[in-house]
Amino acid sequence: MSGPSTYQPKSALGRWFEARLPIGGLVHSSFVAYPTPRNLNYWWTFGAILSFMLGAQIVTGIVLAMHYTPHVDYAFNSVETIMRDVNWGWFMRYAHANGASMFFIAVYIHMFRGLYYGSYKAPREVLWILGVIIYLLMMATGFMGYVLPWGQMSFWGAKVITNLFSAIPLVGNSVTTWLWGGYAVDNPTLNRFYSLHYLLPFMIAGVVVLHVWALHVVGQNNPDGIDVKNVEKDTVAFTPYATIKDSFAVVVFLIFYAWFVFFTPNYLGEPDNYIQANPLATPAHIVPEWYYLPFYAILRAIPDKLIGVCALFGAIIVLAFLPWLDTSRVRSGKYRPIFKVCFWLFVLSCLGLGWLGAQEPSGGYVIAARLLALYYFGFFLVLLPILGLVETPRTPPASIAEAVLRGKTATIDQH
């Protein structure tokens, strides 16, 4: 979109370096001169918030790794040592543990935004699928990180999740033994989860680079879901406009994050995880971290193990097919009256499933979870394909400039 960079370093040293490694030009064309649609709203700041959270998690994580011991006999106590003895250890750990939750809050908002405004539609399919891959990697990273403190929820979460793979016909048990490195979740399991928990964030960072690259090839979507037609009129430069707006959003998000870290650091955690792992006693009520609850509810809603596990994974994988499931030619949900209603019902069904995932798997809760799971899949597999054919969308504005200036008499030149 931006074309060849016209970046010229001011200093002689800068020009000397640029001729040998044009990294200045790359940064300039990607984050300074890069044109962003001028109608972006604050929902578009979550990319920057997510980048910040990935950095925060990597920094706090590397620091925690300096004090943590990945052994079943020492892991739990080493975490308590971090909390009580290590200088600022409590802060690093609370920032990391709550950081994971903040990361997921941000990614869910980011995903719902993409869903509402049709950001997955051509030509952004690859961009969207890279996002789904990042989300899968985040789930794997979060899960393995939660195992490391070796509390009761860590252990039993690890056991339940690795047992999902035992549903695979024929080779299921061999796969779980291979994942565990033993006959049950034990020291080898903890060790490898630690290794992978350290690796995966860097893989996420790698896919984020591809995600941003793909974004900068096709350009950002926008609330009206229309293409940039005139770069002069429809866009503004990334710096200072997007940079300042994103920075402001990051600061606001940091306040929210800090409130959890400093005032209610255990609100999103489970008290049972302050009990050391005991392979002979399952806690009365196992719940995963809140960000997995909707999928956990789908798993439990189905009375058959293999189908339940397939539904759990299918609920995530279906996202990758979204660009082809939605048949509407209008991108933005803003101009799709029926889609809009279905979308908000979908948001409610996700929240409802999340709540049900934390309840006992019995009676009315199971029936409710089944209905909501049905809507979850129905939204993707039935509503989206059909809506595009039967819905009459409103007409989006002809250009981004028109969308911004609609209802105003001012022209762009007057400010």
């Binding site: 039993w156 056991k159 035992s166 490195g181 033993g182 189905i302 058959d304």
Partner: protein, 175 residues
């Protein structure tokens, strides 16, 4: 190569490409296998999985004793006559995972099971659930007094480990 007339014919160079590629693939696979297989249980884990002995003398009728074998809980249940009857008087063909009680025990009063729910690996609660056997609180699987799945999402009966009774019947070896 410059001779276009022979382009469609296999050449010695094609042979070299295929042979080189094949060796590269074999090499990659033979390096990949150690990298994958290292995650399987190591020698010490396998060695630690030797059989364990349980003294049956101290177990009272109706009691369930849990011992650890290979990192998993093993239930040793001294069944009462009522519990045995409940396990035996069942239409086996109608069970989700049909198996007669006699095929699951060596001595009717001693039921020995791997105490891991076949759904997702939680430890079921004994003397609980509508069949007096076990109830798994994680996802609601119900087992009877033979450890067979009766309700809920678990696909199979609780597994029966290999066992042997000592000659005098006072000691049980698991594994």
């Amino acid at each position: 190569m410059a001779n276009t007339a022979t382009m469609d014919e296999p050449t010695r160079r094609d042979m070299l490409f295929i042979a080189t590629g094949a060796f590269a693939a074999i090499g990659a696979a033979s390096i990949a296998w150690p990298l994958i297989n290292q995650m399987n249980p190591d020698a010490s884990t396998i060695a630690a999985g030797v059989p364990v002995d349980v003294d049956l003398g101290g177990i009272k009728e109706g009691q369930i004793v849990t011992v650890k074998w290979r990192g998993n809980p093993i239930f040793v249940r001294y069944r009462s006559q009522k519990e045995i009857d409940e396990a035996v008087n069942v239409d086996v063909a109608k069970l989700p995972d049909p198996q007669a009680d006699a095929d699951r025990v060596k001595k009717a009063q001693w039921l020995v099971l791997i105490g891991v729910c076949t759904h997702l690996g939680c430890i079921p609660q004994g003397h609980d659930g509508p069949f007096d056997g076990w109830l798994c609180h994680c996802h609601g699987s119900v087992y009877d007094t033979s450890g067979r799945i009766r309700q809920g999402p678990a696909p199979y009966n609780l597994a029966v480990p290999p066992t042997a009774f000592s000659a005098d019947g006072k000691k049980l070896t698991i594994g």
